[in-house]
């Protein structure tokens, strides 16, 4: 498909038009944190971001949601309309978009189709913003991704210098977003040359490399290794790494009492919490942080690979940046291989 060019000063006009049909979510900055939030005007967007603090996964798989409620014996109603208006997530990073391809395998497969997730997913368009400032903790290129990866995107935008973006349609729906009367021009040869240059330069900036080859097989062999005794020691057992992870998707189903009755609620859960595997008998098969951290690593780099053929990690580096005790998944992977 043909690439287009939009001047930065025209962005507001375009988004304003899209805003009539869609609810637009974009990165905003508040309290020193960047996160995705509905916007009314392009002026609210914080463009100067490396990546958002929380991933946009909660727009599809919220931290907590009511699945249905029941006042007495009978189930009264399924959840109301899940998504009242179609959405655009504007300026999502390619790593976060790719994580949705992984979540799709869990929530939208032949075996199981989660209506809550699927409705949100189908009602949301993804306008990606190529990541031209990858961080030193980013390792997307080792995880079958990259700063210009198009997986799951409808449009990919690339900042070309100070005044314009190149916009590439990835899907037909994406193409429809950049209609005839919008402020777009066809990209010229020099724009494409510039794009190739920026892309090459950016990919070179992703310095962290993690070699995944042989990792899954190695993990098969070290389940009982003393390695795990050492690796978990500094872990606090909090849920920062799992809750800020763009691919972690474990949840708990609980009934909560409200004035009108009872709600069946699905909430994020974390394998790092003791209660995650606490059984009704009181027995807990994952008795300490040792087993819990092993589970996190095994799920991402072994079980998920066995189930879906890919690692449950996109290399966004959030767990590295945000861990209060600087547990670094890149080091863990390295150490597993040397084990």
């Amino acid at each position: 498909m043909k690439e287009k060019i939009i001047k930065k000063e025209q962005l507001g006009r375009w988004l304003e038009k899209l805003g009539k049909e869609y609810e637009i979510w974009a990165p905003v900055k508040k309290n020193g944190l960047v996160f995705f939030h509905p916007i009314k005007s392009a002026k609210e967007i914080y463009f100067n971001f490396l990546n958002s603090k929380k991933t946009p996964k909660d727009l599809f798989f919220p931290q907590s949601e009511v699945l249905f409620s029941f006042p007495k014996e009978e189930v009264e109603k399924e959840a109301e309309t899940i998504l009242p208006k179609s959405r655009i997530i504007f300026a999502i990073r390619p790593c976060d978009a790719k994580s949705l391809a992984l979540l799709d395998q869990v929530f939208d497969s032949e075996d199981y189709r989660d209506p809550y997730y699927v409705e949100r997913r189908e009602g949301t368009l993804l306008v990606g913003m190529a990541c031209t400032h990858p961080q030193t903790s980013c390792f997307c290129t080792s995880m079958r991704g990259g700063p210009f990866e198009k997986n799951c995107l409808d449009l990919l935008m690339v900042e070309l210098g100070d005044d314009k973006y190149l916009v590439e349609a990835v899907t037909q729906t994406g193409k429809d977003l950049i209609g005839k009367d919008d402020p777009f021009e066809d990209a010229q040869g020099k724009d494409r040359e510039r794009l190739a240059k920026v892309k090459k330069e950016t990919e070179e900036k992703v310095k962290s490399k993690v070699v995944m080859e042989g990792l899954e097989e190695k993990l098969d062999k070290i389940f009982d290794s003393p390695f795990w005794d050492r690796i978990h020691q500094r872990c606090l057992g909090c849920a920062i790494c799992t809750y800020l992870c763009s691919t972690c998707h474990c949840f708990a189903l609980l009934d909560e009492k409200v004035n009108s009755g009872v709600q069946r609620v699905r909430s994020w859960d974390s394998c790092m919490f003791p209660g995650f595997t606490l059984e009704a008998s009181g027995h807990n098969p994952r008795i300490s942080n040792r087993e819990r951290m092993r589970q996190r690593v095994m799920h991402k780099f072994n079980y998920f690979v066995k189930n879906f053929g890919e690692t449950a990690c996109v290399g966004c580096g959030r767990c590295i940046q945000n861990c209060p005790v600087n547990i670094d998944i890149r080091e863990i992977i390295e150490e597993i291989k040397n084990e």
Partner: protein, 315 residues
């Protein structure tokens, strides 16, 4: 290398060689610029990994409850106060730990650095004397460390460890701080304003429980938020429940919290808990004349009764 870092390595090495301890818990260089992290050392030759600088932000006393060996632990002023608390509350035995005290001029708040960098990534940081050089893409600036101090350190009155077996370097001077000025200013605001502040802060909470898990004083085998029979606390992050969690945690650590600031520092969502914790500390001091973690003998105010305890609340 700073003098007391060298000394720290020597002392730790000797403790392991002499088998006075089985394990040293200290800090090592982290994998990100200006980061350090907790480290666990059992072999004498590994003590060269130990570092001591203004980024040793974790309160290591948290780990005492996780180990069963005889431990040598690196402790700043606040950490030593947490250790005093743990000994008093029979969580650790004094004879099982060897405290390597380090006088601490204050820890750098990495969130302040993030604010200064305004979206850029910190690529390199160099600490020298009282200054720190920050490098990012198209950015280079040298700042006074004083300006980057964490709020808890700015108001700290115990820069020197209160309890130790050996001290690295000499005790440092204790500046007179206006310890409660920000808390008093906040307390003087209208209650709706304060309520709005607490609502705003806790609305960002994602309930990762890092604040609780990092806290040396939070060692309940099962936290009330995790109980399911009965359920006190919904999984749905209703703001009211989230507020209750933070308030109950504050009350539960009243007279025990040493204001090390670890809970605020670990929060990924920048939820500031200082106004709750510091105010409670102030109240305990004013009501009971008690300061947590400064004395091994004095009975904790919440675990004792004195005939002259204030009881104005009884109408």
């Amino acid at each position: 290398m700073p003098e007391n870092e060298k000394q720290l390595r020597e002392v730790a090495e000797k403790l392991l060689i002499d088998k006075k301890v089985d394990l040293i818990i200290g800090y090592e260089k982290g994998t990100l610029p200006l980061r350090t992290r907790p480290t666990f050392i059992r072999e004498p030759e590994e003590t060269k990994r130990l570092v001591w600088n203004s980024r040793c932000e974790n309160n290591l006393s948290f780990y005492l409850k996780t180990v069963k060996e005889k431990v040598g632990i690196v402790a700043k002023g606040c950490d030593s106060r947490s250790i005093v608390g743990l000994i008093k509350e029979s969580q650790v035995k004094r004879e099982d730990i060897f405290i390597i005290g380090v006088p601490c001029p204050g820890i750098i708040d990495k969130k302040k650095i993030e604010d200064i960098l305004d979206g850029r990534e910190l690529l390199e940081g160099v600490e020298s004397d009282s200054q720190i050089l920050l490098k990012a893409e198209g950015f280079e600036e040298t700042l006074d460390q004083d300006k980057l101090l964490h709020a808890s350190c700015r108001s700290c009155r115990h820069r020197n460890p209160v309890l130790y077996d050996t001290l690295m370097g000499k005790e440092i001077s204790q500046p007179q701080t206006d310890e409660y000025s920000d808390v008093e200013e906040f307390a003087s605001k209208q209650d709706n304003e304060r309520w709005a502040y607490f609502n705003d802060e806790t609305s960002r909470c994602i309930r990762c429980y890092a604040c609780r898990n990092v806290c040396p004083a939070c060692y309940c085998p099962q936290c009330f938020v995790d109980q399911s029979l009965p359920t006190w606390f919904d999984r749905t992050p209703h703001l009211s429940d989230t507020l209750i969690f933070h308030i109950i945690r504050t009350l539960h650590t009243a007279g025990r919290c040493v204001n090390c600031g670890a809970c605020s520092r670990v929060c990924p969502m920048n939820v500031e808990l200082r106004m709750l914790n510091k105010k409670t500390e102030k109240d305990v001091k004013e009501l009971y004349g008690y300061e947590a973690g400064t004395d091994l003998e004095e009975l904790p105010p919440m675990a004792t009764f004195k005939i002259d305890d204030p009881q104005e609340f009884i109408k």
